[in-house]
């Protein structure tokens, strides 16, 4: 508990909190200029998110995949790699899960875990491809991950269309009940909000993220490589192996996200014209969360709340979608541009310091 209090009063946490407030303030000005009532809109936003059990449940649903992709990007960042590919790893995770979920009949205690594991491994494999190319051939991971995003999208579309498709539908068959990870009883209690085990797994994943990076030999190496590959090489670490490991584990996180999304929310996978977008949001989540486990969770909550609450701003306060997007973007903008926030806060901080000296 003490640690949590410390987390929030730390400078590194205060700045984002102030940034959120500044972003909301800026958004309020935009709404005023457009002739809308910002207070009503923000009330609507929070009511939409926290107003009833259904919405709380759905907000959790919205947050869950963002934690996974945020962890994925953050993990690679720790090793100095820019994983733009969480998107594709997410898709591969979904594909693996939907394959196991639809094509096999197994008891539930095997089926769901197997689907999750296969999804995670496929995501990991997808990440490891970029890691391997970076390590062995020096190919920039930004390029390979972007390209693998598209490959994964069309590969998944092809496999669903030709092997998993439900007749007359633009999607796969529904997964077997034994593969579902929905929390049905709880979901009913939450007004049929799509609650599932994913959020527990996400928090567990964040914990694992922390343990790997700070409590294992591998994490020690990964961080050393990330900060200074030359020193890591000097110290006898295998830089290439670590690059592959980092991309694999990052891919596993994203793949897990894709798997739980299929098994917990949709129960099928659609033939989709575009990437789901969670991976790209994951980049922002990781950056705002400063690549720490706890930071990623909070950043995912911020994103999830804003994205889900936006609908309320339109529905209740009548703010047009375009203006809502500006408000959301400005909150994220202020959080990401912490330098800007520090600049705005400067007069307040200087006084604080001056006071201490006197």
């Amino acid at each position: 508990m003490n640690k949590i209090v410390k987390f929030f009063t730390k400078d590194s946490s205060l700045i984002p909190l102030m940034a959120i407030l500044l972003g909301l303030l800026f958004g309020a000005v935009v709404m005023l200029l457009g002739g809308y009532n910002p207070l009503l809109a923000y009330t609507a936003l929070f009511q939409k998110v926290f107003g009833d059990l259904y919405n709380i449940g759905e907000t959790i649903r919205q947050i869950t995949p963002l934690i996974f992709t945020g962890l994925s990007v953050a993990f690679a960042f720790r090793t100095g790699l820019f994983n733009i590919g969480a998107e594709g790893q997410f898709v591969m995770g979904s594909l693996g899960a939907v394959w196991i979920g639809t094509q096999f009949a197994l008891p539930w205690y095997i089926h769901a875990p197997l689907a999750i594991i296969v999804g995670a491994l496929l995501g990991g494999f997808w990440g490891a491809i970029s890691g391997y190319l970076k390590a062995k051939r020096g190919v920039n991971e930004v390029i390979t991950t972007i390209m693998l995003n598209y490959i994964s999208l069309y590969l998944a579309n092809y496999i669903i269309a030709n092997y998993l498709r439900a007749p007359g539908q633009q999607r796969s068959e529904i997964i077997q009940d034994s593969a579902s990870i929905s929390l049905n009883t709880l979901s009913e209690f939450f007004g049929y909000a799509r609650l599932h085990w994913g959020i527990i797994l996400a928090i567990l994943a964040a914990f694992v993220f922390y343990i790997i990076l700070w409590k294992t030999k591998m994490g020690f190496e990964l961080r050393a490589v990330g900060f200074n590959p030359h020193a890591a090489e000097y110290a006898g670490m295998n830089v290439n192996k670590n690059v592959i490991n980092a991309m694999f584990i990052g891919g596993v996180f994203a793949g897990l996200g894709g798997a739980i999304e299929v098994l917990g929310v949709f129960k099928y996978m659609t033939i989709s014209a575009s990437l789901p977008g969670y991976g790209f949001d994951g980049i922002a989540v990781a950056l705002i969360g400063a690549n720490t486990a706890l930071g990623v969770i909070f950043a995912a909550i911020l994103f999830g709340v804003l994205e889900f609450g936006a609908a309320g701003m339109k529905f209740v306060a009548g703010v047009p979608i375009e203006v809502i997007e500006i408000v959301i973007a400005s909150v994220i903008f202020f959080v990401a541009a912490s330098g800007l926030v520090k600049f705005i806060l400067k007069p307040f901080r200087r006084k604080e310091k001056g006071g201490a000296v006197e």
Binding site: I211, W214, K215, T216, K217, G219, F220, R223, A224, F227, N228, H230, A231, A232, E233, Y234, A235, G236, M237, N238
Partner: protein, 513 residues
């Protein structure tokens, strides 16, 4: 211009940075036509003061007078107009431009819209002749030596009409012969009426060329005196604040078995050119072998092949009769070689790791730092505390990031880590680069201590003094080959300088065998 006594006078200059006072009410005068040395340890505040004079910083308090006129130097252009020029430690030249092009860059003589290149060339040639610089105005920068490049920098300041020239650690990159030449050039400059400020921490140079010296310690002026009234020991103790011994105190070496044997090793550099050309030598237990040479003659590559960081193309490396050629860095480290790398920021430390983490950088996987196969930070930090105490590393705590420490303390930490591994061979590459006298003394002591414990020590340094003082034997490397091995007691800087320049006199070898 009327005759003035002082070309530069800085009065009561104070400059504060968050947390420190870099310059604390410094006063400093330079006479017209003198070479005035500014002496101080790293971080003493010399560079801050000169950056203020050159217009890069503005002082919080104090006044500056140039030619006895009060001035406000708000940016380097103002400094230029006042006739102040600076020769930086790291040259600012465009590699594929000619000498003339580099010199006129930014103040090109115009003929209409066109650059009057010929006029510029004439001017450069004229300046070069007048000050005895012997620079070819048409040569490309990439084709000329480091010493020549420095002269181009000097010409740049002259071309812009500088009367006061600041030299920032000018000898760091030069061979002994080039240093001799530089001293000659500086004399020519003052004879022609220029004034020179020389920033340095090398006492010998001050004794050789400067007329006066101002010593700065921790942002304050300690003393300002004429060079002829002082000596190296006095300067050193004023700079460090206590008595310093220069001569490395050591017993004669007692060499035992061969520990490291490098046999006909050839290797390429990063550009794929031959960097080591069938190089061979040995290091014995209980001796320090110094490798002398001008930078870029294969020293870096030599260390890298021994430590497994670079592939050997042909030839062998043996550690105590075991062939370790092309083994992995981890295998080599574990078989008994410790390595103090030449670039502590690039290789030696992960600057964003804590001191505790950095002190187990090569040993984090040892069972002694684990509990149930997970890293145990209590054990890691206990180990770090022990080393920090033993090697007198000044750090607020074991959780402090390496980045926050001074260069000397970073280097001490590396040495602590490497010595603690209890190796058979300790490789020390430029172990005192950029460090002040106190830290240098400490490090030299540690190297000798390792030798006396029966370890083999391989020392690579670009500082000839260091090689001469610390080594038991000196091998000179030139273009990837050992051109001779000499006894430090029987050689001179001049002889070494010649060998470093590639003069493989058979006489040198014969005399020592």
């Amino acid at each position: 211009m009327k005759d003035v006594k002082y070309v530069v006078e800085m009065r009561g200059i104070t400059k504060r940075f968050p947390g420190i006072v870099a310059n604390d009410s410094i006063s400093f005068k330079v006479k017209k036509g003198e070479i005035h040395a500014l002496l101080g340890e790293n971080g003493a505040g010399k560079s801050t003061l000169m950056n203020i004079l050159f217009g890069l910083y503005e002082p919080d308090e104090g006044q500056i007078f140039i030619n006895e006129q009060a001035v406000q130097i708000t940016d380097p252009n103002v400094a230029n107009d006042l006739g102040i020029g600076m020769v930086h430690q790291h040259f600012m030249l465009v590699e594929n431009f000619t000498v003339t092009e580099n010199i006129i860059l930014g103040s090109e003589p115009k003929m209409g819209l066109k650059i009057d290149y010929n006029k510029a060339r004439e001017q450069v040639l004229e300046l070069s002749k007048r000050y005895g610089l012997h620079v070819d105005p048409d040569a490309k920068i990439e084709d000329i030596s480091v010493g020549m490049q420095q002269r181009v920098e000097i010409l740049k300041t002259l071309y812009r009409g500088a009367d006061i020239i600041i030299f920032d650690e000018p000898t760091a990159v030069l061979t002994p012969q080039e240093i001799e030449d530089l001293i000659g050039i500086m004399r020519n400059l003052v004879n022609e009426g220029k004034s020179i400020i020389l920033i340095t921490h090398k006492l010998k140079e001050i004794m050789a060329i400067a007329d006066s010296v101002t010593i700065i310690r921790r942002g304050k002026v300690i003393d300002s005196l004429a060079v002829k009234d002082t000596n190296q020991d006095e300067l050193a103790s004023k700079m460090v604040g206590r008595e310093v011994t220069f001569a490395v105190d050591k017993k004669p070496a007692d060499p035992k078995d061969v520990i490291l044997r490098v046999s006909d090793v050839t290797a390429k550099d990063n550009r794929g050119l031959t960097a080591l050309n069938e190089i061979s030598f040995e290091v014995r237990a209980g001796e320090i072998l110094g490798i002398a040479g001008v930078d870029g003659n294969g020293q870096s590559e030599l260390i890298e092949v021994i430590t497994g960081l670079r592939k050997v193309e042909s030839g062998q490396v043996y550690l105590k009769d075991t062939d370790i050629t092309n083994n992995t860095p981890r295998e080599i480290s574990e078989s008994g070689i410790s390595h103090i790398p030449e670039d502590r920021h690039k290789r030696g430390l992960v600057l964003d790791f804590t001191m505790g983490e950095n002190l187990v950088l090569e040993t984090y996987f040892y069972p002694e730092f684990q509990t149930n196969r997970f890293l145990d930070y209590n054990k890691i930090n206990t180990h770090a505390k022990k080393l920090i105490e033993e090697f007198d590393v000044r750090t607020p705590s074991v959780d402090t990031l390496a980045r926050a420490l001074s260069g000397g303390n970073q280097q001490k930490a590396i040495i602590a880590r490497e010595v603690d591994k209890d190796p058979d061979l300790l490789i020390a590459a430029q172990p005192t680069r950029g460090l002040d006298v106190g830290a240098i003394e400490f490090i030299h002591k540690r190297l000798v201590e390792q030798r006396d414990k029966g370890k083999a020590v391989l020392l690579l340094s670009l500082e000839l003094d260091e090689i001469m003082n610390v080594s038991d034997r000196i091998a000179v490397i030139y273009e990837g080959k050992i051109v001779g091995v000499v006894d430090p007691k029987k050689t001179s800087e001049k002889e070494l300088g010649l060998m470093m320049a590639g003069a493989t006199t058979e006489g040198v070898k014969a005399g020592n065998e």
